[in-house]
């Protein structure tokens, strides 16, 4: 029983880490620009296809592919910001959000046209064979996903905490006016934010696509991640991480203790429960307010 349960938690954590990475992308963009980017899930999907093309199509070494995918995903984020969001930055937030939904549809259809709607297997360096540590059983894949996600999160934390640019990004999220007065180019910070969010989405894509297979609908995983971000308190970075991980674990456990139907709605039940008890989410500051 504990043996099965513990492996349920580990594999839930692996999925949860991926949710957390995507949720982070949502939150970073939201904090910096007030925009909820509904194309966040599509960053995951497109990066999956980028790495598929590099790996299978061009036969490039895995490590290089990983790096190139992250970089290219970042570029995609910048392009999306420049082409879709920036021209309408003065429009009501609602319009911008709709524009990101439009972008997500365009990305999904483009992937469908280029690659078809068939699921594709994306290779990975992590094995799916079982490993046993004490009584916990998991796969190298699970461990790799969790480990890699944590590395990315720590790297992000250090970047935001210790670097001049990272501090400027946090500052811009708190007061754009003041940031401009300090000499920060807010447009550059926006581009950078989109680049980082898309790059994290890229990491999520490389990690998740080999597990749940690659197809143009992969981006719908963004919906779960979005729920994770709200669970944690939309706008809170630790919230996104904890919310995402919690969601992965709860999903697994509810599937184990109940059935597929409950598992499917467990996300939303949990979400409603948390929002009733703590309307701002687990880590949210009182009502979301921009300085």
């Amino acid at each position: 029983m504990t043996e099965i349960l513990s492996s349920q938690v580990v594999s839930g954590l692996a999925t949860g880490c991926v949710y957390a990475l995507i949720a982070l992308g949502f939150v970073l963009i939201f904090k910096a620009t007030d925009v909820v980017n509904f194309a966040q899930g599509e960053f995951v999907m497109v990066s999956g296809f980028i790495s598929y093309t590099l790996l299978i199509g061009l036969g490039i070494h895995y490590g290089l592919v990983l790096l190139a995918t992250i970089v290219l995903s970042g570029v995609m984020g910048v392009v999306l910001e420049r082409v879709v969001v920036r021209p309408i930055m003065d429009a009501p937030i609602f319009s911008i959000v709709i524009a990101t939904i439009g972008a997500s549809i365009v990305l999904r259809s483009s992937a469908g046209i280029l690659y078809g709607y068939d699921v594709l297997p994306l290779p990975t360096i992590f094995s799916k064979d079982p490993i046993r540590v004490g009584f916990v059983q998991f796969t190298a894949m699970d461990a790799g996903v969790i480990g890699f996600s944590l590395v990315i999160m720590v790297a992000l934390y250090l970047f935001f905490k210790l670097t001049r640019t990272g501090t400027a990004m946090r500052a811009t999220a708190q007061s754009q006016t003041a940031a401009r007065l300090m000499g920060v180019s807010v447009t550059r910070i926006f581009s950078l934010t989109w680049a980082i969010s898309a790059a994290i989405g890229g990491v999520a894509g490389v990690l998740i696509a080999p597990i749940i297979y690659l197809d143009p609908n992969l981006g719908f995983i963004g919906v779960k991640a979005f729920a994770g971000a709200i669970l944690g308190g939309f706008g809170s970075i630790p919230g996104a991480i904890v919310g995402g991980m919690l969601l992965g674990v709860i999903e697994n456990l509810s599937g184990y203790f109940f059935n597929a139907g409950i598992k499917q709605v467990s996300t939303y039940i949990l979400l409603i429960l948390v929002l009733v008890i703590r309307p701002a989410g687990l880590f949210g500051a009182a009502p979301i307010r921009k300085v």
Binding site: I4, S7, Q8, S11, G12, T15, G112, G116, Y117, D118, V119, L120, P121, K128, D129, P130, R132, Q137, F138, T139, M141, D142, I212, Y213, D215, P216, N217, I221, E251, N252, L253, S254, G255, Y256, N259, A260, G261, K263, Q264
Partner: protein
């Protein structure tokens, strides 16, 4: 003389108009066939390939002048494996495109959603791309083609219990009309024929992507065999997640899993996976299959031959045979009658089609077991006439 010609001409025109008015979707020169398929969703591999297979037959027939002078035009819409969308598409096909018949409509839950509507409009639902038993016993407008999931599961249960001597059998099933067909039939077969019951019944939802909790439950049940009432995405993922917790039962399932994609996705994790097939493998010998391979190469050169497109191909081929039999006077009634007239007809692959009667509106009950060996589906048994297995 001239006047006579005009009168004859007018009569011909009127006659043409009369034929037009007789039946939606049929003109002098054309028959319009509709299909609702999943082209972009969770089972798009099936949808895209079924369409390609049907198109290949129709293209060849059209190139040779059509059936009784009528070219066949297939209109297919994407329902994304979502029942509400399937209904919208069916209405569009019937009311706007005025289709003659619905053919190869993909998916059990999606086809079930359009069933009553087609019945109301008296539009035949020919050979839907779902082998649920419901199509064989729902009256005049629905005709199944191949052995049902219920019958296939009967074969699976008998094989596991009698030949493999396995008594601990679990069911992993899609929680909808598709998964339930085989799941319930398996349960009935275990109980009535072998005095057994599933040791675990574990469901999943369409388009689910994670089965770790299902794997855990199956492992805990101690089942030696798991019947997977699933499509091609789930068996590889389930096998992987079972293997990850050190659980290696026999996985076996009905025909929707017998697809090259299952192997492509699962790799070594699906070695030894077993399935039921209800028509020959695309690589088997036979005149019909030679024709199939030639047509696919010509009309769908980008798609590799696969059970999925062969499935659509054989549906279209049987339907063309029925239209040939219906003759020049093509109506919904005449084509249904023609289908019913098919007996002991072999398109050329050693498998005979024959109408099963009004209580069993299907064309073939053949089935055999296959397995994945060295990354390929190979047969492990011979063709058998599958017994009819009820769901109760």
């Amino acid at each position: 003389m001239k006047r006579l010609l005009t009168i004859v001409g007018l009569l011909v025109l009127l006659g043409g108009v009369a034929v037009c008015a007789a039946e939606d979707g049929v003109t002098d020169k054309e028959v319009v066939i509709g299909a609702g398929l999943d082209l972009t969703g969770a089972v798009a591999n099936w949808g895209v390939n079924i369409k390609a297979g049907m198109d290949a037959v129709f293209s060849r027939v059209n190139a040779a002048g059509g059936v009784h002078g009528r070219k066949i035009r297939l209109i297919a819409y994407d329902h994304v494996y979502q029942p509400p969308k399937a209904v919208t598409n069916a209405k569009r096909l019937v009311e706007r495109d005025k289709i003659f018949v619905m053919m190869g409509h993909l998916g059990t839950p999606t086809t079930k959603a359009v069933m009553d509507y087609l019945q109301d409009k008296q539009v035949p639902n020919i050979f839907p791309a779902t082998l649920a038993s419901i199509w064989t016993n729902s009256g005049k407008y629905h005709v199944g083609d191949l052995a049902t999931y219920a019958d296939q599961t009967g074969l699976i249960v008998d094989y596991l219990v009698k030949e493999r001597k396995i008594r601990k059998i679990a069911s992993f099933y899609q929680d909808d009309e598709y998964g339930l067909d085989g799941h319930l039939a398996g349960k009935a077969r275990l109980k009535h024929t072998h005095d057994l019951a599933y040791v675990a019944e574990v469901d999943y939802k369409r388009a689910d992507i994670d089965f770790s909790s299902q794997a855990a439950k199956l492992k805990e049940s101690g089942a030696d065999a798991v019947i997977v009432q699933a499509v091609y995405r789930e068996p590889p993922r389930l096998a992987e997640q079972c293997h990850a917790i050190g659980y290696n039962p026999v996985f076996i399932g009905p025909s929707p899993i017998v697809v090259a994609k299952t192997i492509e996705l699962g790799g070594k994790h699906v070695e030894g996976l077993m399935g039921v097939e209800v028509y020959p493998l695309p690589t088997d010998p036979g005149a019909f299959l030679d024709q199939y391979r030639a047509d696919m190469a010509k009309y769908a050169p980008s798609l590799p031959i696969d059970t999925t497109n062969l499935y659509g191909y054989q549906k279209a081929a049987v339907f063309v045979e029925a239209m040939q039999r219906a003759g020049r006077n093509l109506t919904r009634d005449s084509v249904l009658k023609a289908i019913e007239s098919i007996k002991d007809w072999d398109p050329g692959w050693g498998l005979k089609y024959g109408y099963g009667g009004d209580n069993r509106r299907g064309m073939s009950n053949a089935g055999r077991l296959v397995t994945v060996k060295d990354g390929k589906w190979i047969k492990v048994g011979d063709w058998m006439e599958l017994k009819e297995v009820g769901r109760k």
